[in-house]
Symmetry: C2
């Protein structure tokens, strides 16, 4: 019998998060406030607790994970590492393929790795209520789960088009006790302004962020919570990679290539940052970030200072961006439809420590189908992109006549995304390439903003 | 940090299935053919492979699990055993509550424990194609997964009302490469006959069984596969309980009460049969089967010989039944809407080795909500019944002033059942008590059939 799964006991849940900022070969440009000067911690206190602000700017390599957070991680962590025995057979490759599987969390993805500590630190700071936005619902449901654990109220502004089209993610949030409203909503000034202009607005992540930030900034009892992009979010996700490092050792294997999809960047950071630490120390590892051709932030975007939201309410972040007013096509990988990218991930790509690739969604689902029939697990739309990139590595290895060890992050299951599979199976799914006009518009939009050093 | 999960390595996947028939305190009445005489193996060969027929009638205590089956079990087995640390706190009880969690399988429930060996033995016997029925889709998707593993074609007759209302389970089957049609279909005589009478028939499990059996009986390359009720199905599920016995030992605990929901009986058998073996050997364990008040087969049904399907195509089985023409109310626990019960489970209840309880669905969902907010996992509608029964045990222990150790089977997650939670949360969910008229009708229907000794 071939070994399929490498499991760790609860005692092997990491005790610290890895903060890659301590090891960057060159310093990252700072986020900037509205006055063009670096953001100071006190500017963030209206919406974040001090502990998270401290983590956001920390240069310490290791940050202790509080026991109550580890205690909740223990509901699903350590997650399994799989050797893709059947998929290797299906691909007829001598390469060894491993995947870390984050779909075993209650919400079905890697997102609770950060929603739990975020809820914890807010509860510790006496905050009673969190506000956040969600697109397809992965993040909103993860925060709802975490808030239930710490007795926090939670309000989720869910992009209208998803709220209407994906009611089950909303029901999941309500099952965990959170409130979920369609955005734009009449509950905020930002929402009302949009609705006055366009009562039938389908909403966007940018609008929903504006609503959640306003909610948090205007209510004494409420803070804001973000599911990706920021440094502390990337840092929380490193429990994934730390476990994978240990599990690869159990398997007696060392990856030549580490692959993860990247939307805002936190899933990518989670698996790869601990392996990048080994790369910084001399290990021969290639690290690949994979994104959709419909939202090719890293492969075709500008590296620039840009806002995280449409309305320009957030600080300016140094990142790869398609412009903060960019509206990506309605691809099924909702988690990869973001105009920007985590500054940490952008910095690593810019310094050529990380490669970036983009694939169209049909080729991703085609490979995901082969994966699902071999391995059993039906992947979420986002990690189908990582799967496509693994197949590209396998083909490249075949051409080069070499045997590689490949590791990728299967960041979530597709149980709530069967409409995407239906679209693929029925032949209705379409591919989208970003028009050059979008890049030109982004360039114009970014022109008046500062440029990172 | 409290211990949450008890994990076993792949090497601890059971190597044998436990066949409780070898240990029954009194022999079970045999199934009867159309002539009123016991069914002989050769009557079953048109639709089942010899290996499974042998297991169906076996009196051997242990049946070896073939290596290729264990190899696929390894994709998700051994499953975790949880101590419900947070739920105990929420219930404010000194009782220790453990649950075995089968939702980690690719299809999200315990069903693949038997779909995999069934597909395997059929593939070994040279069968190219399997036909089956499914209600809400749990079984159909589990067989689709298993057939993908062994390269078998699979056709699933899915009850029309579920086919229309739960498209995502169907897409799941198609993702794994199976064909799924609405039943009644125009593909079989059974289906066409119904459609001629009622072109808008919503279908029923009984009709779908008739279609699948006809498909298998009339095609040389095709066999039939059933997801519950039969002896060999119950036997396959005992991997669940065998692992749980070992994991309870890891936890240093011994259950006073073992609880599982029962529809056709296979989930119940899976967890409890290995503990019943300990009970037969003298252990002081109560074993409880839980069913819905809308389909109270064990608590209010007749113990009688009855057909497994509406059309009377199956052998007569000695079991608790509400009559083979019974149409249960449209409760959300689709897996518990069956008129009969596994003969093995019925026999144990009749011999007072197993207790039976029934609960209405709203009280089940109320407790499931508390469970989900504490433990994170959102239960499928079926195991909400087991959860309700655990709470009853906790209350009883409180009244008696004792501390009990309780174990139950969380047989699947609710990711595909969010409409049920929506119904509960919106206040639309209704409870159903079985009308006495249904029992009277069943009694009349059973009158002409033989009576078990």
């Amino acid at each position: 019998m071939s070994q399929h799964r490498y499991l760790l006991g609860e005692d092997r849940i990491p005790t610290r998060w890895y903060n890659i900022a301590a090891d960057l070969p060159s310093p990252m440009p700072p986020p900037l406030g509205p006055d063009g000067n670096p953001v100071t911690p006190d500017m963030l206190t209206p919406i974040f607790p001090m502990e998270l602000i401290g983590q956001e700017v920390s240069q310490e390599r290791w940050i202790d994970i509080p026991d109550p957070v580890r205690d909740i991680y223990a509901l699903w962590r350590p997650t399994p590492l799989f050797r893709a025995v059947a998929w290797e057979r299906e691909l007829d490759t001598p390469c060894r393929i491993f995947y870390k599987y984050e779909g075993v969390s209650p919400a079905g993805s890697h997102k609770p790795n950060t929603s739990v500590p975020q809820a914890y630190y807010n509860a510790q700071a006496g905050v009673k209520r969190l506000a956040t936005e969600t697109g397809a619902g992965q993040w909103g449901s993860s925060l709802a789960f975490a808030c239930a654990q710490f007795g926090l109220e939670c309000k989720v502004y869910m992009v209208r088009v998803s709220y209407d089209g994906k009611p089950y993610r909303r029901v999941m949030m309500e099952t965990w006790g959170s409130e979920c409203v369609a955005s734009p909503s009449s509950d905020t000034n930002a929402g009302r302004t949009i609705l006055e202009r366009d009562p039938a607005s389908p909403g966007s992540l940018g609008i929903a962020i504006s609503e959640a930030v306003e909610d948090a900034a205007t209510r004494e009892d409420t803070n804001y919570s973000l599911g990706s992009v920021l440094n502390h979010v990337c840092t929380h996700q490193t429990v994934v990679g730390q476990e994978a490092v240990e599990q690869m050792k159990m398997a007696g294997a060392s990856p030549d290539v580490v692959i993860a999809c990247a939307g805002g960047g936190s899933n990518f950071a989670g698996l790869t940052f601990p392996f990048l630490a080994e790369k910084f120390a001399g290990a021969d590892i290639r690290v690949v970030a994979v994104e959709p051709t419909a939202c090719p932030t890293l492969t075709r975007g500008h590296y620039a200072y840009d806002f995280g939201d449409v309305a320009g309410m957030t600080p300016l972040l140094p990142m790869h961006t398609l412009g903060h007013s960019f509206m990506p096509a309605a691809i099924h990988a909702g988690g990869l439809r973001y105009h920007g990218m985590a500054p940490l991930v952008s910095h690593l790509v810019r310094n050529e420590l990380v490669e970036a690739q983009a694939y169209a969604q049909r080729e991703c689902f085609a490979e995901a189908l082969r994966f699902a029939r071999a391995e059993g697990i039906i992947p979420g739309p986002e990690p189908t992109h990582a799967i496509r990139a693994v197949v590209a590595e396998v083909e490249r290895a075949r051409e080069e006549g070499v045997e590689k060890t490949i590791l990728f992050n299967l960041s979530g299951h597709g149980n709530f995304d069967m409409a995407a599979y239906q679209s693929y199976l029925s032949g209705e799914m379409v591919d989208t390439e970003l028009p050059q006009a979008d890049l030109d518009r982004a360039a114009a939009e970014l022109e008046g903003l500062p440029t990172p050093a």
